[in-house]
């Protein structure tokens, strides 16, 4: 059987019985001894070196992410603030522009009004002047017309009736006509 063949060099050296190896008590002491050494060593290396390092790495990353998030939050708040300030400045500027336009319009309107008033006054003065001149010219013309009519009447009376009348009488008659 294969069991006989299984007795290799090492097996022979061990001097063990043909017992099923996992249940062979003669190997227990050695296995326990080396397991304790190995596991103690492994535990020591894990708990003192590898795991603290990993904990540190993970914690560091956690912290880094947290601070980065906080920083992002802060920057976002700053941006919001800047946007609000910008909008306020914009509104102020708009209002100022509006008020400037309004005052300008008002002053311009007032100037136009004043100029219009002056021009109107000027025009009415000129009109009155012209009216006066027209009246005087008319009066003079009327006077001239009366004297011409009187002279014509004198001449006409002399020629027609052969009566010599004075200019004064003629003028009275013209005025009465």
């Amino acid at each position: 059987m294969a069991t006989e063949a299984a007795h290799g060099v090492g097996e022979a050296a061990h001097g063990a019985s043909a017992a099923f190896p996992p249940f062979d008590p003669s190997t227990f002491a050695s296995q326990i001894f080396w397991l304790v050494i190995s596991f103690a060593l492994f535990y020591y290396l894990m708990s003192k070196v590898a795991l603290p390092r990993l904990a540190q790495i993970l914690e560091g990353r956690q912290d880094r992410i947290a601070t980065d998030l906080a920083e992002a939050e802060r920057l976002k708040a700053e941006t919001d603030e800047a946007i609000a300030a910008y909008e306020q400045a914009l509104a102020e500027a708009r209002e100022r522009a509006g008020s400037i336009a309004r005052t300008t319009r008002e002053t311009v309107n007032a100037e136009i009004e004043a100029e219009r008033h002056a021009a109107e006054k000027d025009l009415s003065a000129k009109l009155a002047d012209a009216d006066g001149r027209i009246a005087s010219i008319r009066d003079k013309a009327m006077a001239d017309v009366s004297s011409v009519a009187a002279e014509a009447a004198v001449a006409a009376v002399q020629a027609v009736a052969g009566i010599k009348i004075t200019k004064g009488e003629a003028e009275k008659a013209v005025a009465a006509a």
Binding site: P22, Q31, F33, W34, V49, A55, L58
Partner: protein, 249 residues
């Protein structure tokens, strides 16, 4: 010899060492235990050496393992259980790597020996007992008296709880040991079929395809078992440690 499925479990003396009448020889088992420790510790230490904020490949694996075990422990035993984290991590890492080393052909499987898994299980139960008694004193024994059980039933329930507590190290060790042993024997038997069938002749070689497929499938299954058993071992350890911290369920 190559066909003997038990041969892989033989312990061979490499460096004889006798202290008194104790045989503490350095054997192939010792060699693979030290190899497990060297590989595990070497990987974890090198992987965490860079301390990169953005992890590389090795560091990612190390962080993954760290967080996996930490989550398992935290879920089972709460935040206060994290004092046992190095212990649970070491157990998980040691068992997992020892199992994985066993998957290499011609390598010795440390965890296929009951004495190894037994010592680890006893270590777990000792820690549970020591911590439980140190933290809670006599109150630790409330573990055996579940809340809300009528006093009449206690004579029945308490022995059951005691027996279940005592059987914990047994089930913990036998589960791991038996899984490793049986898996490796099955693999070896099917692989042995390939050799002996192909020795018969051309028909045997064709017929050997079946055990070949079986061997490949079993190897995949064994890899699953390797991870699963290491995880189960760590998970049960976490649950037992939870009892040590919070004895009244």
């Amino acid at each position: 010899m190559s066909n003997d499925p038990i041969h892989q479990f033989h312990i061979n003396r490499l460096v004889p060492l006798e202290v008194g009448n104790l045989d503490l020889s350095f054997t192939n088992s010792s060699l693979f235990m030290l190899a497990t420790v060297a590989a595990g510790a070497g990987f974890m230490i090198l992987a965490s050496g860079g301390r990169g904020l953005v992890p590389g490949r090795a560091q990612s694996v190390a962080e993954l393992l760290y967080e996996f075990v930490a989550k398992t422990l935290r879920d089972a035993a709460g935040q206060s259980g994290m004092v046992f984290f190095p212990f649970v991590f070491s157990l998980f890492g040691f068992v997992l790597l020892a199992n994985l080393f066993g998957m290499f052909p011609y390598f010795f499987t440390v965890t296929s020996h009951i004495i190894i898994t037994g010592v680890l299980a006893l270590l777990v139960i000792s820690v549970v007992l020591v911590v439980g008694l140190a933290k809670h004193g006599v109150k630790f024994f409330k573990l055996f008296v579940p809340d809300g059980v009528p006093a009449m039933l206690l004579p029945l329930v308490v022995p059951i709880e005691v027996i279940s507590f005592i059987s914990r190290p047994v089930s913990l060790s036998v589960r791991l040991f038996a899984n490793m042993l049986a898996g490796h024997i099955t693999l070896k038997v099917f692989a042995g079929f390939i050799v002996s069938m192909s020795a018969v002749g051309i028909g045997g070689i064709v017929g050997a395809i079946l055990p070949m497929i079986m061997t490949v499938a079993l190897t995949a299954l064994e890899f699953l078992v390797v991870f699963l058993q290491a995880y189960v071992f760590a998970l049960l350890t976490c649950m037992y440690l939870n009892d040590a911290l919070h004895p009244s369920h």
